[in-house]
């Protein structure tokens, strides 16, 4: 049931019809320097929805995330959040509108302690929200154990958790997660996905990039497949999982 990417995304399986759209990306062109990576990317996330982006290496998944967060060079199209045009805004503004972002690499402050990292998560607030921090510690007990350790000396997986924790400090409406399970031990992968489910169930919309595509698609509401900087497929997670072509080309059979 493969459908042409663009028509699919824009006319989008009844997607256009819903009126509770949270994030709407239209015809986005973006890149680095004068190198264009994304061409006409469309993407929607609705209130409380759980959306996954999959695709081959170098497809532009991370770039899409970064573009939403104002970290790339904008070359065309627009990004709207809660009916507000946030195209080309700076990250420090975007965080105020209620988007949290966990980047793929380098996502902790290495010489700050774990606790300080979490505090930085709530930087834009006047005071560190103690309950939010408590909630993060509940979710990731290892962080409490290591709260005075410098983040840079933690293992790859531990850092990933810390980065998640930090993004949760502000209780955002939309959380952008770039490969949150990368480098996590299997139990933690499960746990991480469970946590994401929990977060999602608590009302936070999720836009996630994952290479652990099968698991991600299984759990999400809707999935996008990106390739070559363009939309290629869009459908519910399960539908994508069942699509023979998608399996063959992107999910390793």
């Amino acid at each position: 049931m493969s459908v042409d990417a663009n028509t699919d995304a824009t006319s989008g399986a009844g997607v256009e019809g819903r009126d509770d759209v949270l994030l709407r990306v239209r015809n986005l062109d973006a890149g680095y320097g004068d190198l264009q990576i994304l061409t006409d990317v469309d993407m929607d996330v609705f209130d409380g929805e759980y959306v996954t982006i999959v695709g081959p290496n170098g497809a532009g998944k991370s770039t899409t995330m970064k573009s939403v967060f104002g970290l790339t060079v904008h070359m065309g199209g627009n990004v709207r959040f809660k009916d507000e045009d946030i195209t080309g805004r700076r990250p420090e503004d975007i965080i105020h509108v209620g988007i949290g972002y966990v980047p793929q690499n380098d996502n902790v402050f290495p010489t700050l302690t774990v606790e300080e990292n979490l505090e930085m998560g709530a930087y834009i607030l006047d005071e560190v929200p103690k309950d939010a921090m408590e909630a993060v510690y509940e979710r990731f007990p290892i962080l409490r154990e290591r709260k005075d350790q410098k983040a840079g000396t933690m293992s790859g997986g531990q850092q990933q958790m810390l980065a998640m924790g930090r993004a949760l400090m502000l209780d955002p409406d939309l959380l952008l997660l770039d490969e949150p399970s990368a480098g996590l031990a299997p139990d933690l992968v499960e746990e991480m996905f469970d946590k994401i489910d929990e977060i999602n169930e608590a009302g936070t919309a999720i836009l996630m990039v994952e290479q652990n595509a099968k698991e991600a698609l299984r759990r999400c509401d809707r999935g996008y497949v990106l390739a070559n900087g363009q939309n290629r497929y869009m459908d519910t997670g399960t539908a994508l999982l069942e699509d023979e072509q998608v399996r063959q080309d992107f999910l390793g059979g």
Partner: protein, 455 residues
């Protein structure tokens, strides 16, 4: 993505052509300036010789620096230190032995100049080793600070009264303290020509030159030939460094510049490579220092202020770090425009508008401008202070380059670090993948094909 399409692509003869072109343009400009200044033929030749001299010196130095910074990523801002050691050691080895009552306060070992030059280079390389052994593990900016501090330590040592004179192999030698050393031995050109037995022929040539410059042509010819000699050295440096760069050795240096751990993990003894590269560069800096200062006949420690180091850096950055062609070009442009240019400019202004009295201070210069909008005194003062402003201009040029053309005048040059071009060898069948498709990845490719077949 690939080599930037540049005006340079259209110059016949490629890089060498470009260099020649720039040199020709420079000389033309200087000859014209000399013409306006009313130089005689002798004056023209002398000014060309001086220009060539500085072009040669700066080109050599920026080539040597390019080996450090462009190739190996070693941020050396102690260049003058290595130059100083090169010159001083050469002096001590070559100066005639001490005789009481001579002009020179101290003597030397009285060995031939070539021994002195080798010793000087060796000493610079050894100083490089001493700095390198412990310091190469440091971050680039720390290495920078260590090297500049080292160059100051070297200068202070040569300045110090304690090392003013001492005994070496029973000879009275020394660094001469603040008054420096008189280099009372045959200048390099003479030594070279005598060495190859061409001295008399040369003198004959000088005499013949009287046709062009009737009176005392020797210094003019000396200057010109020495300039040529320096250009020869530049060519040799260029050749040496180009081959060094375009080789597996250069490849490892480049890798070290990017990420030392990786090179190490791939089995390269990075310390050894770095030390070799550093020492080679230092020796070349020493040699450049020798060729610069030995013909001056005297050397004082205060010549070796950090400023000169920054001159070389500016030259390199103008041309573009990482590129040998760029280094030569940067050296030439720096010498011609920024180093020698302002003096000519000033002389031109005074030649065109003679008898202008410029104000003696900023105050007198600026007050007419403020009180009666009379900019003339200010402009005069500006022209008069061009030596100071020259350094301001250098600073601004540096800033401008870093903003607009951090890769240097030539734009980005891809000088591939290998002996051969790295395109797919003919012998291999081009089974897909080597065409210039815009695909970003194999995975995408597979997907794209999948998508197409589906339609």
């Amino acid at each position: 993505m690939s080599v930037r399409d540049d005006f340079t692509d259209r110059i016949p003869g490629g890089d060498a052509g470009l260099i020649v072109l720039v040199l020709l343009a420079t000389y033309l400009a200087y000859v014209l300036a000399g013409f306006v200044l009313g130089y005689t033929l002798r004056g023209q030749l002398n000014s060309i010789a001086t220009l060539t001299f500085y072009i040669g010196v700066f080109a050599m130095l920026s080539l040597a620096l390019n080996l450090h910074w462009g190739y190996t990523g070693l941020f050396n801002i102690g260049i003058v230190g290595f130059m100083a050691v090169g010159v001083y050691v050469t002096a001590i080895v070559t100066k005639p032995t001490y005789v009481a009552g001579g002009a020179a306060q101290v003597g030397g070992l009285g060995l031939p100049l070539w021994v002195g030059i080798l010793a000087g280079m060796l000493a610079a390389a050894l100083l490089g080793l001493v700095v390198a052994l412990p310091a190469l593990r440091l971050r680039a900016d720390y290495l920078a600070i260590v090297t500049i501090a080292m160059s100051e330590i070297v200068r202070f040592s040569f300045l110090s009264g304690e090392l003013q004179q001492f005994q070496l192999f029973g000879n009275r030698v020394g660094f001469g303290g603040g008054s420096g050393l008189i280099l009372d031995f045959a200048p390099p050109l003479e030594a070279l020509l005598r060495g190859v037995g061409l001295w008399d022929a040369y003198l004959g040539f000088v005499d013949a030159f009287q046709v062009v410059v009737p009176r005392n042509p020797k210094p003019v010819v000396d200057g010109l030939i020495y300039g040529l000699l320096l250009l020869g050295f530049v060519a040799a440096f260029y050749w040496l460094l180009k081959r060094t760069g375009e080789s597996p050795f250069g490849r490892v240096l480049k890798a070290i510049r990017e990420d030392e751990d990786v090179a190490n993990a791939l089995g390269k003894n990075t310390d050894r490579f770095k030390i070799k590269s550093f020492m080679l560069g230092c020796a070349l800096m020493g040699l450049a220092g020798i060729l610069w200062l030995v013909p001056q006949g005297a050397v004082t420690p205060n010549f070796f202020r950090p400023r000169v180091t920054f001159f070389v850096w500016i030259a390199l950055i103008i041309g573009g770090a990482g590129s040998n062609t760029g280094s030569v070009l940067g050296g030439a442009v720096f010498a011609a425009v920024l180093y020698q240019g302002p003096r000519y400019f000033q002389n031109l202004v005074t030649a065109v508008f003679p008898n202008l009295d410029s104000p003696s201070g900023f105050g007198q210069a600026i007050s007419p401008l403020i009180s009666q909008f009379d900019p003339v005194p200010f402009l005069l003062y500006t022209v008069d202070s061009i030596r100071q402003l020259q350094l301001v201009v250098m600073g601004l040029v540096l800033i401008w380059l870093m903003h607009n053309r951090p890769e240097g005048m030539l734009g980005y040059r891809k000088e591939t670090a290998s002996v051969i071009p790295l395109s797919r060898p003919k012998s291999m069948t081009a089974d897909g993948g080597d065409d210039d498709s815009v695909r970003t990845d194999g995975g995408v490719d597979a997907a794209a094909e999948g998508g197409e077949t589906d339609e």
